[in-house]
Symmetry: C2
Subunit: 116 residues, 2 copies
DNA sequence: GAACTAAGTTACTAAATGGTAACTACATTT
DNA sequence: AAATGTAGTTACCATTTAGTAACTTAGTTC
């Protein structure tokens, strides 16, 4: 039985791939988790650190800076003493919610299917 | 103005985090793209390699093996000559589609917003 | 018989990533 | 006065990750 040469191409996920575009923002350890927490409510640095459990301050700082640079997260210094810093999702950041939610939902389904 | 000690905790994304669960499967370079292509139709090794453009065969093999081990992808050797190998999504793999689609959709929105 | 296709494998390298631990400065609480 | 909380920073290290390039086996087309 000779090999069949298939010539059909699948159109690629269109130019400058939206998949890659979105993943370049939510990629990296902890990032989706951070966005998840911020989607619930604005959080302070130390609160996020606590929420996430074993993240190091170094990585948390890195992630927040990148998210801020990407326009996804807003950083606000509050005039308390000592000053506190509150992070929240920007409008652009809110756009990410559906993706995070979909991933969470699939995660639930995967867990359910695994347990059977 | 004294610092406000906030005591409320945000409930963590529930035990053994579904977010992390799902990301452990779709994480890693090229993985979401591979799933995207397979969600359109079953694809052969060389077809995927072509679809993805600049992926190396080493990485493609790695990704496919892991996806197969995770029960997300089915690998079938076809009795052609030379033998060809067809990859497709399993039922479990199909569960991932909504997440990939959501990411793609958000990617579109991000691109649209950026261009303004 | 040479070149090509299919589906990879292997050895090596470079870069990115994440983690650890210690440190800062200032203010408040005990 | 000491400890704690706030929001980080810095230097260093280990691991992971991805990429390159060359190679394999076997059949098939030119």
């Amino acid at each position: 039985m000779a090999v069949v040469r298939r010539k059909n191409r699948v159109a690629p996920p269109p130019e400058k791939c939206p998949l890659t575009e979105c993943l370049s923002i939510i990629g990296g350890a902890w990032t989706p988790n951070i966005i998840w927490y911020l989607s619930v409510q604005p959080r302070r640095f130390s609160e996020l650190k606590n929420d996430l459990g074993s993240i190091s301050p170094k990585v948390l700082t890195e992630r927040l800076k990148r998210l801020e640079a990407d326009g996804v997260v807003l950083r606000e210094v509050k005039p308390t003493s000592p000053p506190t810093v509150e992070y929240s999702l920007t409008e652009l950041g809110n756009e990410l919610k559906p993706a995070i939610e979909a991933i969470v939902n699939v995660g639930h389904r995967l867990k359910a299917l695994k347990q059977q």
